[in-house]
């Protein structure tokens, strides 16, 4: 049986829509729409400000459960992060009101 310190990789999803919790100027941002629309630049200052905001939220959530550094921050197509967590830390994150889902990383393969 795993002990309390055994960790696995989890994907923590903060919102369904990355722009939903952004308190900056969404109209001005257009920053989450970084798809084929060539007018939008992920390196633009307002976009960087937005992605910094999301990453800050991710780190706050991780810090609240004494987690370490995330493996990934997802900021464009997904608002969340991947991190090595214990089962208890994953449960604590899942209980937060600002977390939609915590999903353990399970191997997939080509079809």
């Amino acid at each position: 049986a795993p002990d309390d310190e055994t960790t696995s990789t989890y994907i923590v999803q903060m919102t369904l829509d990355p722009v939903a919790t952004y308190d900056g100027d969404v109209d001005d941002l257009a920053a989450t729409r970084v798809g084929p629309d060539e007018t939008i630049d992920p390196e633009a200052p307002e976009v960087l400000e937005y992605t910094d905001h999301l990453q800050e939220q991710h780190r706050d959530a991780l810090a609240d459960v004494d987690g370490g550094e995330p493996l990934y921050d997802y900021v464009y197509a997904f608002d969340g992060f991947a991190a090595e967590l214990t089962e208890a830390q994953a449960a604590d994150l899942a209980a937060r009101p600002d977390v939609v889902a915590v999903t353990e990383d399970e191997k997939v393969e080509v079809d």
């Binding site: 369904l16 798809g35 629309d37 630049d41 990383d105 191997k107 997939v108 393969e109």
Partner: protein, 661 residues
């Protein structure tokens, strides 16, 4: 691929390639998929493949420059250590390449599993190269080696650019490429940031969780204007196995095509068994042995029966050369690559192989190390019984490759609906494309040194659709991903498996097999966007805040999942009466009057209101479809179609529903 562009009519007069200005791959003749970027999330890419070169055979550049607005980059670390990358990467053709491995275990894990140059986007396994070249490989690339007899290959969108995001990994045993969603979501996130137009995802996934991280990443990708093609899965023919259920994804089943590589084995008693084969030479007559009886003393009997190659067994062979040399070996299909089984036979001195299925699965023609024929599970008992007789012999006959086989049939392995998501109110898969015995470019390390290889799976059908989406995005830059999906669905044709209104057929083909020439001019399209998807989620699952769902209702959205404006209709229950709403837009150049008709759904009365729609170009109108119970067998699943016709377009939507309480 070698023949599916023709099977799909891309190269016929008036076909999509001609409509888009040819596919010769020169600056003077810009062609299909120009300036469209296909992001391939897979096992990486073999950059030296001619399928991804930005130059012709004389070294002249064939692309003017990078697609405008694309921001993707190349893996700088990989380029620094691998000279070949420098010449092949970040060209207008192979425009970006990145790798993601933190979830897999990071650089240390990779370094233990693969040579150093594969700690990069470079493909070892070959799967990613195969899918990328299928979707957007160059036109007219001459196949080499055993594949040379097939002539040239072409991607479906041969002028598209490829951005490779490697998030699947394999080891040196050429085993299946695998990965973790943490790396795959990172790849999707990067592809969206880079600004790809299309994503291909030939990877297994959830069958029922609409909030799966990969599915949600694709929702936001689609919201950003990116078309996503994903494999339906290889868990067929069982029902209820389809993966990637999200409505914002185009979920692709696999069908057969008209190339027909037929071979046979003749046994010493005169019986003859036909199957799939590319045997260029015959083997035998020679003694026939059942592999289960010719294993090395300490070998695992299961591995022996399946003719495991040493490469699949930690370098240890399982077949006994003393018993195999000079003989034809009967091998069971199993989990290891089929081509590795003939390699095991060859390494033990065998001269031919009869590969036989152990369950209902497809028959595949592959490039084998010894002449091979692949036979059905229904032949297995007789083959094993004969092989057990004294003096058994067999001949593997020379194969023939025809190009007029009746097609498409649903590939046996292709996963089927109904989907486990959406509570019976969503149809998946969406459509079908070729996915069996597909010849495309591969990475030599994973394919015994070959640069071209055959593969089968919904992994192969999805990139056909990704390529088609690139063509339609090129032709109709104002179309949303869902409009492209609609065009491909409403113009589909039927498989040959049986009555098209049989729900089992609809659950295998979705809206039907893609017909790209018709998709270029579909007449009407069904569009939907992120607010529609959130409303769908409100009606089917948890995850959207109640306040958001209330706001969507106030904004006029229905939370009934059957009302999502898809080009297909699924209703979980029609107890008395059920009405669904749809909205169509005329994407034709002229005003048109469409008339509705329905087929199938015996025991259900169907009323479309209004039954005619007159629409100016660009005009949108809504209509309802009411299903009333009229004596259908209770609990029966019924299939049918709604078709809008204006005399030149048939805009067809499949319908599945369950009758009664």
């Amino acid at each position: 691929t070698s023949s599916t562009p023709s099977f799909l009519g891309l190269d016929e007069p008036g076909g999509l390639w001609e409509q888009l200005g040819g596919a010769a791959g020169s600056l003077r003749e810009p062609g299909a998929g120009e300036d469209i970027v296909i992001g391939v999330i897979d096992s990486g890419i073999w950059p030296e493949s001619r399928s991804f070169s930005d130059r012709d055979e004389r070294g002249r550049r064939t692309y003017a420059g990078r697609p405008f607005g694309f921001r993707g980059d190349c893996d700088a670390a990989a380029a620094a250590v691998d000279d070949s990358w420098k010449a092949s990467l970040c060209t207008p053709k192979l425009i970006a390449a990145q790798h993601f491995n933190a979830g897999w275990g990071g650089d240390e894990a990779i370094a233990e599993q693969l040579p150093w140059e594969f700690l990069s986007p470079r493909d070892y396994n070959g799967h990613g190269t195969h899918t990328a070249s299928t979707a957007g490989g160059n036109h007219g690339v001459a196949a080499t080696g055993a594949a040379a007899a097939f002539g040239t290959i072409s991607g479906i969108a041969p002028r598209a650019s490829i951005a490779a995001y490697k998030a699947l990994w394999s080891t040196e045993d050429a085993s299946t490429a695998q990965g973790y969603p943490s790396d795959l979501v990172a790849a999707v996130d990067q592809a969206v940031a880079d600004g790809v137009d299309v994503i291909n995802y030939s990877v297994s996934g959830t069958t029922g969780n609409l909030l799966d991280p990969v599915e949600i990443a694709f929702m936001n990708a689609a919201d950003a204007g990116i078309f996503v093609a994903a494999s339906a899965g290889n868990s067929g023919p069982a029902a209820g196995t389809v993966a990637h259920p999200s409505p914002w994804i185009t979920t692709v089943a696999a069908g057969t095509h008209d190339r027909d590589p037929v071979g046979s084995a003749t046994l010493g008693d005169g019986s003859r068994y036909s199957g799939a084969s590319l045997a260029a030479t015959a083997a035998g007559p020679a003694p026939l042995v059942d592999s289960a009886t010719v294993g090395l003393p300490d070998a695992d009997p299961t591995l022996v029966a399946q003719c495991y190659a040493a490469v699949d067994n930690g370098g240890v062979p399982v077949l006994d050369p003393a018993s195999v040399a000079g003989k034809i070996v009967l091998c069971d299909r199993g989990v290891t690559p089929r081509v590795n089984k003939s390699r095991a036979v060859a390494e033990a001195g065998g001269i031919g192989m009869i590969l036989v299925n152990t369950d209902e699965n497809s028959l595949n023609a592959d490039f084998h190390s010894v002449p091979t024929v692949h036979l059905a599970e229904t032949d297995r008992a007789a083959l094993k019984a004969y092989a057990a007789t004294e003096g058994a012999t067999a001949t593997v006959n020379v194969a023939t490759v025809g190009d007029d086989a009746p097609a498409p049939y649903t590939a046996a392995f292709s996963s089927r609906g109904p989907t486990q998501a959406g509570g019976g109110n969503l149809l998946k898969p969406d459509l079908m494309a070729p996915g069996q015995d597909i010849l495309a470019a591969v990475a030599p390390p994973g394919f015994n040194g070959a640069g071209f290889g055959l593969a089968s799976g919904t992994s192969m059908s999805a990139p056909h659709v990704a390529g088609l989406a690139a063509l339609l995005a090129d032709q109709h830059p104002d179309w949303s991903p869902m409009m492209i999906k609609s065009a491909l669905m409403t113009t589909g044709s039927d498989v040959l498996d049986g009555d098209a209104t049989d729900p089992a057929v609809i659950f295998s083909q979705g809206a039907g097999h893609v017909q790209p020439t018709g998709a270029a001019d579909p007449g009407l399209v069904y569009d939907n966007d992120v607010n529609d998807w959130l409303a769908f989620l409100c009606g089917t699952t948890q995850g959207v805040e109640e306040a958001a769902c209330d706001a969507l209702v106030e904004d006029g959205h229905s939370l009934d999942p059957s009302d999502l404006n898809t080009p297909s209709i699924a209703v979980d229950r029609v107890s008395r009466s059920q009405t669904v709403t749809r909205e169509v837009t005329n994407v034709g150049d002229t005003a048109a009057t469409y008339t509705a008709s329905t087929t199938g759904l015996d025991g259900i009365d169907v009323t479309v209101s209004p039954s005619t729609l007159t629409l100016a170009p660009g005009e949108t109108a809504s209509f309802t479809v009411t299903f009333e119970y009229a004596g259908a067998s209770v609990n029966a699943t019924l299939g049918g179609y709604l078709t809008w016709t204006d005399g030149s377009h048939d805009v067809r939507s499949p319908i599945v529903l369950r009758a009664g309480d």
